[in-house]
């Protein structure tokens, strides 16, 4: 099972130093015995998330072009309308980055930007639909590997997953909230030959990373995404 770190671009760190530290981090992860990078070398090595920090597209481009690192771009539906999303997607197309991971996004009321206008112009299903059918100007149908972040703690999550499969989503990222995900949902997604990952915030990992990975080994995930908050001090670097 491949372990893929996910990190948001920071608000106040130096761009170059951050980039260098990420490279060091990826080398440390490569040496982790649980990380079966050989089997799934088509998967991204890192996921860069756009949230409040500096432009993540820029970093994705540099990791890909300067460091030859397979990078995925994660973004939310909270902050941009379809015009602004199109602009990002055109940029991704220009830099040849195909792996995108989308989620609805934490509401501004749950962030430090409480008075910000939540956009949610389209939901992830709407975006997937537009991308898979080629309904976004200048973006040909199916250009991107469309990854969708979903919950799995209610029957209605399963229905959303089914709809996402219907519109052609390529991979699924199940949010882990401390409880193991619904096995029927896992089976269903796998039966449709979709890639399946577990999305874990590093704080929800009690005990060592290796023990955690062992505990989810039998679920049949293609990988586990560990969301870290600091590139230097995290679940991968802690002794």
């Amino acid at each position: 099972m491949q372990i893929i770190p996910q990190i948001e671009t920071p608000v106040s760190k130096n761009y170059s130093v951050f980039e260098e530290n990420l490279i060091k981090l990826l080398n440390a992860i490569k040496n982790n015995t649980q990380n079966n990078t050989g089997t799934y070398n088509s998967l991204p090595q890192i996921i860069i998330e756009q949230n409040f920090g500096f432009n993540a597209l820029l970093l994705c481009r540099d990791l890909k072009e300067k460091h030859k690192i397979k990078t995925a771009y994660a973004f939310n539906m909270r902050d941009k309308n379809r015009i602004s999303l199109l602009s990002d997607l055109i940029t991704l197309k220009q830099i040849g980055l195909k792996d995108i991971i989308v989620f609805e996004g934490v509401h501004p009321l749950k962030t430090e930007f409480k008075s910000a206008k939540p956009v949610y112009d389209i939901d992830i299903l709407g975006l997937g639909l537009m991308l898979k059918r080629g309904l976004m100007n200048d973006i040909q149908a199916d250009l991107f590997n469309f990854g969708a972040v979903i919950g799995s703690s209610a029957p209605v999550d399963f229905l959303k997953a089914k709809k996402l499969i219907d519109i052609g989503a390529d991979s699924f990222f199940i949010n882990y909230g401390g409880v193991n995900p619904d096995e029927s949902m896992i089976k269903y997604i796998k039966s449709k030959n979709k890639k399946l990952f577990l999305n874990v915030k590093e704080l929800s990992i009690k005990g060592s990373l290796n023990d955690f990975i062992k505990s989810i080994d039998n679920f049949g995930f293609d990988g586990v995404i560990i969301k870290i908050t600091d590139e230097n001090l995290n679940v991968f670097t802690r002794k």
């Binding site: 609805e104 996004g105 509401h107 112009d121 939901d123 299903l125 709809k163 909230g177």
Partner: protein, 211 residues
């Protein structure tokens, strides 16, 4: 009902600073129900204006100031007073304020803040259930509005942040998609659970000022 709240009186006083002769119009419909523009509030406004040294030229409660037909009929009762009036304080929602401004061609001052279309539990407790989104989806959602009740206004299923039952944003409330699922099951309308809603057409909504 369209919910309004009383505006900060200082803002009203500030807006009226250069006017002496003031008329007051109340709304006997929604604003009356939420105690922002009924006859009691009209009287209170008159008292306040007089205490501030203004001359109140007339007061009137109009059944529906947002309906030009009703407005045209009712405003005749104060036709003469209106001629000598410099500004009108309107205790209604923003639609009423603008309708009166357009119809009377007088300076209008809004006495309320307009909130949302509300369900009334009892006076002082209101809920927003419909945001007037242009294309109603209630027939496919088990009669609960995901556009209004989901703080993210999602159409096609829950966000990744709920905890299996409750909403990520308002943690004491049920996620509306969980509710919608229950309702569709209850009415044996499971087919609607698979319905894919295409992205909303805001171009269409923007044209709704003229139907």
């Amino acid at each position: 009902m369209f919910l309004t709240e009383k505006k900060d009186i200082q803002e009203i006083d500030e807006a009226l600073k250069k006017y002496k002769k003031i008329g007051v119009v109340g709304c006997a419909s929604c604003a009356s129900v939420c105690l922002t523009g009924g006859s009691r509030e009209v009287k209170e406004m008159k008292k306040h204006l007089e205490a501030s040294g203004k001359e109140v030229t007339f007061t009137i409660s109009i059944d529906e100031p947002c309906d030009k037909r009703v407005l045209k009929e009712d405003i005749r009762f104060v036709e003469d007073e209106l001629k000598e009036t410099e500004a009108v304080v309107v205790l209604s929602c923003g639609t009423g304020v603008q309708t009166i401004g357009e119809f009377t061609q007088k300076k209008v001052i809004s006495g309320t803040d307009s909130k949302y279309i509300a369900q009334t539990e009892h006076i002082g407790e209101y809920y927003a259930l419909c945001g007037g989104c242009d294309v109603c989806r209630l027939n496919f959602t088990g009669g609960v509005c995901t556009v209004t009740l989901c703080p993210k206004g999602l159409l096609n299923g829950p966000c990744e942040g709920h905890n299996g039952n409750n909403c990520e944003v308002f943690e004491d409330k049920e996620c509306v998609f969980v509710k919608s699922y229950e309702m569709l099951k209850k009415y044996s309308e499971e087919d609607n659970l698979n319905k894919i809603f295409e992205p909303r057409d805001y171009g269409h909504s923007a044209a709704r000022t003229k139907i």
